[in-house]
Symmetry: C2
Subunit: 129 residues, 2 copies
DNA sequence: TATAGTGTAATAGGAAGCTAATACACTAGG
DNA sequence: CCTAGTGTATTAGCTTCCTATTACACTATA
């Protein structure tokens, strides 16, 4: 994987797994890949994967069954809460950062719209070739 | 200061100083606070401040004059580039994250607008009391 | 020219994160 | 019962970040 060297790897692993759960790619109750398998596919040590799992288990998003595997919680409320928190946290992060740069509310929205439009155009022209 | 324990402190210091430069609170050519002063006000070691400054100097945003102080570059192009990069980087970060959560373009914009509106309402009701 | 204010460098020590390696505990299935 | 697949724990060693401390280099000015 492509890790940001400014953030602990175990934390980034937690992030990508949470993202997959929230996106529905890992359904409630579904079995996660085995820790050793995850370690290989992420090119990372088993202990690092375990560190990420430990926190996900503590937070009730994953349940662990020794000898069987790790499973996504079946409690959809937990997942929905996670989803909302994550969205809000990311919006807040963008908002406060741009605000510190003296960019006001309307400008922040404009910047995002422009960014998305530019991106759409670029995808389009890439698709043509 | 209030540091995020997931990101190196020196990197966060760089961030806040860049933000102040971009926001215009630190004008081109202006003298930065002395390293020892910064260390005290950030409750951090001088070497940590120096580490942040070293990178800002390497990137041409700050110039250093031994015995005199550190100064914001007078090259406004550098600052403008910094500003644009920073905005784009943050928009990209939000966009790609929400996209990974299966939220499409229009929804991303809606989420941001809603967030800003909610925030405005809360500020208003706080102001009343 | 002395002194206060500034940047810079270097050392030592501690904490956190990561890797590597090994071992142990439990489950499912032949 | 044995074995393969799984989670968990422990130890040792390395690197990065941070702190504390001391020292040195340069500038401005009284």
């Amino acid at each position: 994987m492509n890790f940001d060297d400014k953030v602990p790897i175990y934390y980034q692993i937690k992030t990508v797994i949470y993202d997959r759960i929230i996106a529905g790619e890992l359904a409630p109750g579904e079995k996660l890949p085995a820790v050793r398998q995850l370690a290989v596919s992420l090119t990372v040590n088993v202990n690092t994967v375990q560190r990420a799992l430990r926190e996900m288990i503590e937070e009730g998003v994953v349940t662990s069954q020794r000898g069987r595997g790790n499973f996504v919680t079946t409690d959809t409320n937990v997942i929905e809460t996670l989803r909302q928190d994550l969205i809000t946290r990311n919006l807040k992060q963008l908002y406060e950062r741009l605000h510190r740069l003296n960019i006001d509310d309307q400008e922040i929205i404009n910047e995002l719209v422009t960014y998305i439009e530019r991106r759409a155009r670029q995808n389009e022209s890439n698709g043509k070739n």
